[in-house]
């Protein structure tokens, strides 16, 4: 166990020390009338003063320990509590301290030619002030037959003609700020001679801040709750043990207006036994790039089709971008058709009841087919449903949904009385336009402001209403005196409709509210706002 005691005399309360001095002086004088213990005496300087200081120190330690060991005291003022002692105290309730984790991700290194290129292990890659290191030595090789080890990566050619290969990187320090988004430009220090640029291939994941005493206290409720699927608190406690990145959970069951699965009967009345478990499993949805083979479905309109199985599409919100494989062009091919589906084969022996597609939206049971138009000419002799082409599709996904569904459906853990479906929250993706007025000469950091806003909104939990005051407050945490936010703050929200998977747009300068539609499961208990860092626009005006 770590040493929790304060050994320094620097933080002593002078009044406490004087109290002890006075006490000792009186005590010795009473017992030994002939001893001079006045101030400036040797007795005073060599005996009473040091004794008083150490008595005060011991007393302070005992007092701190007593205060921090009381759950009541800690809950009253968690910020003031000693994190180590709180950690020890809350471990009694099954709440474990988390050290924080380092973000990991894949970076594409772009090259001018297709030559064998080595990026050594530990090479530094930066994004602004954030620093990452490669986790393995990666050797980019020009042809597939040269790939002989796991660390060999095939150099591929992008549409632009540039060559690239992926390298795995890990943040140097734990923390959420290291979660860069897909497409962020990175900088490789000490690059190879044929280096052009580097870019995040996907959204980084895993980066978490270390717990503070406050975080631990917030998790106490989960620690002392039963690990079951009964209520929000319980389900979060159950899932959090296995999936510590889970932020918020909501359970919809019998009697809830959004619970439509238990009304699949001719009387349209609830008969219970069903629950939908909505989980925010990461700080924010991630973008993942998958390469899929598309089939030509209409040669006249150049329409191609890609289908996703439920394993590939678990927890996915939408497809944000479709480009020919390896293309680094901005934008996306036009998506013309979206066909959501449901795969009802059992998971861990469990088959849920669905009567509509939207009931399986963003769960581990959804499947998806997408059609898009690629105007580049179709090769001569192409045949519908036979000709294929490879495309990179960027999925916006709440991860771990399938793993959590399997975890909950596991007969050992799951309740036989319930039909529990795990779903990602119904998302509203928010873009923000923030105008700041900053006095000349004042320092500010747009990246810190952006980080702060992103964290605040993504941590709001389940709600269908986002007030601009939340954003202004988060901005102000990073502004010096005299700086201000020019109101109104333009908030632009895109709700992903669980039925059609089309995006519906809402806009407000004061309170971005999504109308309640319980028949589609859109309620206060199921909707969540997400902001991705590249969707926060900050304009600064110095005045």
């Amino acid at each position: 166990m770590r040493d929790l005691l304060d050994k320094s005399l620097v933080n002593l309360d002078p009044n406490k020390v004087r109290e002890f001095e006075f006490f000792l002086k009186e005590y010795i004088e009473t017992a030994n009338a002939g001893v001079d213990v006045s101030k400036a005496s040797v007795f005073y300087a060599l005996v009473i003063q040091p004794a008083a200081m150490f008595m005060a120190l011991t007393n302070q330690n005992v007092d701190a320990f007593r205060r921090n060991s009381s759950l009541q005291e800690v809950l009253n003022l968690p910020e003031a509590a000693d994190p180590q002692i709180v950690q020890a105290l809350l471990s009694n309730f099954g709440v474990e301290y988390r050290e924080g984790s380092n973000a990991v991700g894949i970076v594409h290194v772009f090259l001018v030619n297709n030559a064998v290129t080595t990026i050594p292990r530990g090479a530094v890659v930066t994004h602004g002030e954030l620093s990452y290191r490669t986790t393995t030595t990666t050797i980019g090789v020009p042809s597939r037959d040269l790939v002989s080890r796991d660390t060999d990566a095939l150099i591929q050619q992008a549409e632009t003609g540039a060559y690239y290969f992926p390298i795995p990187v890990r943040a140097e320090n734990p923390g959420e700020e290291y979660l860069v988004t897909q497409g962020s430009s990175m900088f490789l220090q000490n690059p190879p001679t044929n280096y052009v640029s580097a870019r995040a291939a996907e959204d980084f994941r895993g980066g978490e801040d270390a717990d503070t005493a406050l975080d631990l206290v917030e998790r106490l409720e989960g620690g002392i709750s039963g690990k079951t699927t009964a209520s929000r608190v319980h389900v979060k406690a159950l899932v959090e043990e296995q999936f510590p990145s889970v932020r918020h959970g909501s359970v919809i069951g019998m009697g809830h207006e959004a619970m439509t699965r238990d009304r699949n009967n001719i009387f349209r009345i609830s008969y219970g036994g069903k629950s939908d478990i909505y989980l925010q499993t990461e700080a924010r949805p991630l973008r993942e790039v998958v390469t899929k083979t598309a089939k030509l479905v209409n040669a006249a309109t150049n329409t191609w089709q890609v289908s996703f199985s439920r394993e590939e599409f678990a927890g996915v919100y939408f497809i944000s971008r479709v480009v020919p494989k390896g293309s680094t062009d901005l934008g996306s091919l036009a998506i013309t058709n979206r066909v959501p589906g449901v795969d009802l084969s059992p998971i861990e022996g469990f088959t849920p009841t669905f009567s509509h597609n939207h009931q399986a939206a963003f769960s581990a049971f959804q499947t998806f087919t997408v059609e898009f138009v690629d105007t580049s000419p179709v090769p001569h002799g192409s045949e519908v449903f036979t000709t294929t082409r490879e495309y990179d599709l960027t999925l916006v996904v709440m991860p771990h949904i399938q793993a959590i569904q399997e975890f909950i459906a596991d007969p050992w853990r799951g309740s036989f009385r319930y039909d529990d479906v795990v779903r990602a929250p119904i998302p509203v993706f928010v873009s923000l336009n923030i105008h700041l007025r900053v006095p000349p000469g004042a320092t500010y950091s747009t990246s810190a402001i952006r980080d702060s806003v992103v964290r605040r909104v993504n941590d709001l939990g389940f709600t269908r209403s986002l007030s601009s005051s939340v954003i202004v407050d988060a901005v102000h945490d990073n502004l010096s005196q005299g700086a201000s936010v020019i109101m109104p703050v333009d908030m632009y929200g895109e709700l992903v409709n669980p039925d059609t998977r089309e995006r519906e747009v809402f806009r407000s300068a004061t309170n971005l509210t999504v109308p309640e539609r319980p028949e589609l499961g859109i309620t206060n208990d199921t909707v969540m706002f997400f902001v991705l860092p590249d969707n926060v626009d900050i304009v600064v005006e110095a005045r």
């Binding site: 002078p14 101030k39 005496s41 040797v42 007795f43």
Partner: protein, 160 residues
């Protein structure tokens, strides 16, 4: 000869006697021992000897961090060489410190404090400015009618 001695403590409050911080005529202990180490275990003192000891401790020891008004900064100033050991600077620094010593000691006096334990003055009377081997001569005088006084030698490193 000093009227208060290390053994004359009948019916008085006694203090521990530190190794001589000044010349009490004890051979081999002519100079100040800045660490105030205990020399003769268990020896006690009273009277003028005790007074001189207190005055020196106050003069040369800064108060504890929680009681910054007790003691003087003289010792720290000498050791830190802030004074650059110029005669004028030392005497200028000594003046308020000497004053403080008298005030602080008087603040601890009570009605039953014997006359030969009451301070009258502490002054810097001379300085020996030999390079590297400077000495301050400080006079400490008792308030009693006997007018007992002693000159204490404080060795310092003198930077010419």
């Amino acid at each position: 000869m000093l009227s208060g001695t290390v053994v004359d403590y009948n019916a008085r409050k006694v203090d521990l006697y530190l190794s001589p911080a000044h010349d009490f005529g004890v051979p081999g202990f002519q100079e100040l021992n800045p660490s105030f180490g205990l020399a003769h275990g268990g020896t006690v003192c009273t009277g003028f000897v005790k007074l001189v000891q207190k005055a020196l401790m106050l003069l040369l020891t800064q108060g504890r961090f929680y009681d910054i008004y007790w003691g003087t900064s003289m010792g720290n100033s000498l050791r830190s060489r802030n004074l650059k050991q110029a005669a004028r600077e030392i005497s200028a620094a000594f003046a308020p410190s000497g004053h403080d010593v008298v005030d602080l000691l008087r603040s601890e006096e009570s009605i039953d404090t014997p006359l030969d334990e009451r301070i009258d003055r502490i002054d810097l009377v001379n300085m020996a400015e030999d390079p590297g081997q400077g000495r301050l001569l400080v006079v400490i005088e008792v308030a009693a009618l006997s007018q007992d006084a002693t000159v204490v030698t404080l060795p310092i490193t003198w930077i010419p």
